[in-house]
């Protein structure tokens, strides 16, 4: 016996070592809650590697920062100009979105929806990866010390990245959405079809669980549905690139992630979310009489007379093109901005009463009410400006309630049209409107 063991000593040790590892694997596979007991040795391994990664990242950032921030500044001026233009465009886009948000908020309040907010995020830097294509994870430089916890959502400004898988004292593991063990509750933006996003072995991402008799078009955006209780609802995941009939009567929907998952440098970890009942407190109270009044013709409001201004500027003339775009106060309250935007995007054609009730907030701007009154008095006036609202004219929401309305209470409580209008008007000066404004 001893001679046999001595003769095949190498083979016996090989079998022994393999047996131990297989045993360890079997124990891990059988365990239902993953990685709790193997955590310690993972900590050791991570602690061995990540300090070097941190140092290297630090040195890399230091060198890169010195070069890019102080030495290599070629094209910065042009880029700066381009970015300023982009900011202007985004401001206008923001105005439009704010209007939609206010309306959605009001509807949510009416339906007693609960809203979710990302109230706190922690920025983290990617310092490494698993180094294999079978385990698509990242290491970030924030951990337990920064109050990160398992299953927190990890995002960037472009979209969803993944979730926190394991938290170590000063680093964390992030499971990417293209890993085959990940899953994200997903909803398609236009068709509102829901499914779950799964990664494949080759790193591609697919939406599963959509029946094959549904119509899904390539190019449609995929958003988080919030059903997984990890990712807040409405975050962009990616775009549908290919749709094919799969097995078991489900569609194979290939998704291209909005985030370039292979070249991430900084991410945001959602550490706190708030859920609250939607209320209309901050939108101003709307009385039944106000709603009724919108259906009835009324006398246009007189322009306000302020003691300080020698010649009281009417609302329409406040938003003079050119001056508005150069305003230094782009941080006007979204509520105010949106309501004014709504007023300015109204077509002057005969609106229906039901439409006006469907968009009660359109009349909440004090300046806009007067301007709209003027528009209604001149039905053949030139189409109103659609600054920041390119779809306003063709939409089924002509936002036409305001022309003959009194000011709602919300508008009365915020009588500051001069601060608001500039953010609305700059892109498309509309002489017709300016002329129509009461003087």
């Amino acid at each position: 016996m001893e001679s046999i063991l001595g003769r095949y000593r190498n083979l016996v040790i090989l079998v022994g070592v393999l047996f131990l590892q297989i045993l360890g694997l079997a124990v891990q596979v059988k365990r239902s809650s993953d990685t709790e007991n193997t955590r310690l040795i993972r900590v050791w391994a991570v602690d061995m590697v990540t300090p070097f990664e941190r140092v290297l990242i630090w040195a890399q950032n230091g060198t890169g920062g010195l070069w890019h921030n102080y030495i290599y500044l070629r094209g910065v001026r042009a880029e700066n100009r381009q970015l300023k233009d982009q900011i202007e465009q985004l401001r206008l886009e923001q105005v439009r979105l704010n209007e939609d948000a206010v309306q959605a908020h009001r509807l949510q309040a009416l339906l007693a929806f609960k809203e979710q907010f990302i109230s706190k995020t922690v920025a983290a830097q990617v310092i490494g990866s698993s180094g294999t294509d079978t385990s698509r994870i990242l290491y970030i430089d924030k951990g337990d010390k920064d109050h990160l916890k398992r299953d927190m959502a990890v995002i960037t400004s472009d979209g969803v990245v993944g979730k926190v898988l394991q938290v170590f004292p000063s680093v964390s593991q992030v499971l990417l959405i293209n890993d085959q063990s990940s899953g994200v509750g997903t909803i398609l933006e236009k068709s509102r079809l829901q499914g779950f996003l799964k990664g494949a072995a080759n790193g591609e991402v697919a939406l599963e669980g959509v029946m094959s008799d549904e119509q899904v078009a390539p190019g449609e955006k995929a958003l988080t549905s919030g059903g997984d209780q990890i990712f807040p609802k409405g975050l962009l995941i990616g775009t549908v690139t290919n749709v094919a009939t799969g097995k078991d009567l489900f569609l194979n929907i290939a998704i291209k992630p909005a985030v370039n998952l292979s070249k991430l440098e900084e991410v945001l970890v959602v550490v706190e979310r708030q859920e609250r009942q939607a209320t209309t407190e901050d939108l101003g109270r709307v009385r039944a009489a106000d709603i009724l009044a919108r259906r009835l013709p009324s006398v246009p409001d007189k322009p306000p007379v302020t003691a300080n201004s020698p010649s009281p500027a009417p609302a329409g003339s406040v938003a003079a093109p050119g001056t508005a775009s150069r305003t230094d106060s782009p941080v006007a309250a979204p509520k105010q901005v949106s309501t004014n935007a709504a007023g300015l995007t109204k077509p002057a054609k005969s609106p229906s009463a039901s439409e006006s009730v469907a968009r009660p907030q359109v009349a909440s701007g004090s300046g806009q009410g007067r301007q709209n009154s003027t528009q209604s008095a001149t039905p053949n006036a030139a189409p109103p400006t659609t600054a920041g609202r390119p779809d306003a004219v063709t939409t089924s929401k002509p936002a036409s309630a305001a022309p003959t309305q009194p000011k709602p209470r919300a508008a009365q409580s915020n009588p500051a049209p001069a601060k608001v209008a500039p953010a609305v008007l700059p892109a498309q000066p509309d002489p017709a409107n300016a002329q129509d404004s009461p003087h």
Partner: protein, 173 residues
């Protein structure tokens, strides 16, 4: 007797200093985890810890030492991922054992032999990993010969260069 065969007395057995024994595998693991941050394809096609395992196993020419080296490096590589620990451990244990066993019988000093051996060991490593991952852990794995051979060749060429530099750390036993 074929020219590539050598007797046990003829083969050179090497050893390495402690810093090299510990530092080189750790450096390989570190680079394997760090480089994909900039070059994502690196992790798909190249496996530095495998190359280091093969090198140490072939140089020491001791099967027990080879399989233990492979087991330790493989387990460390497993720990950096999120899959169960042991898949890479098993694969690299097998490769370490085979590399050191072949190192006893073959001349593994010339570049051509190293190229072919590394290609072969990469395929063996992939096959063992595929089997364990699919059979024991139920990971979805797709076997592709073209990708395997391509990655094997990439590893083999990188290995030949890497071994050339690592040869400098060899010490005669």
């Amino acid at each position: 007797m074929p020219i590539t065969y050598t007797s046990g007395e003829q083969v050179e057995v090497y050893r390495f200093s402690l810093p090299v024994t510990v530092g080189v595998p750790l450096l390989a693991l570190f680079l394997q985890a760090f480089i994909p941050r900039r070059f994502p394809g690196f992790a798909v096609y190249l496996d530095l810890p495998l190359l280091v395992t093969i090198f140490f196993a072939m140089a020491r020419r001791n099967p027990i030492s080879g399989l233990l080296t492979g087991a330790v490096i493989g387990l460390l590589q497993d720990m950096l991922g999120h899959n169960p620990i042991g898949i890479y451990g098993i694969a690299k244990t097998v490769v370490g054992y085979l590399a050191s066993s072949l190192g006893v019988k073959l001349d593994v000093e010339n570049a051509g032999a190293r190229l072919l051996l590394t290609l072969g060991f990469y395929l063996i490593h992939s096959a063992v990993y595929f089997t364990v991952a699919r059979g024991m852990v139920s990971l979805t794995q797709n076997w592709s010969w073209s990708r395997g051979v391509l990655a094997g060749l990439a590893n083999a060429f990188l290995g030949v260069i890497l071994y050339f530099f690592l040869d400098k750390f060899k010490q005669r036993a």
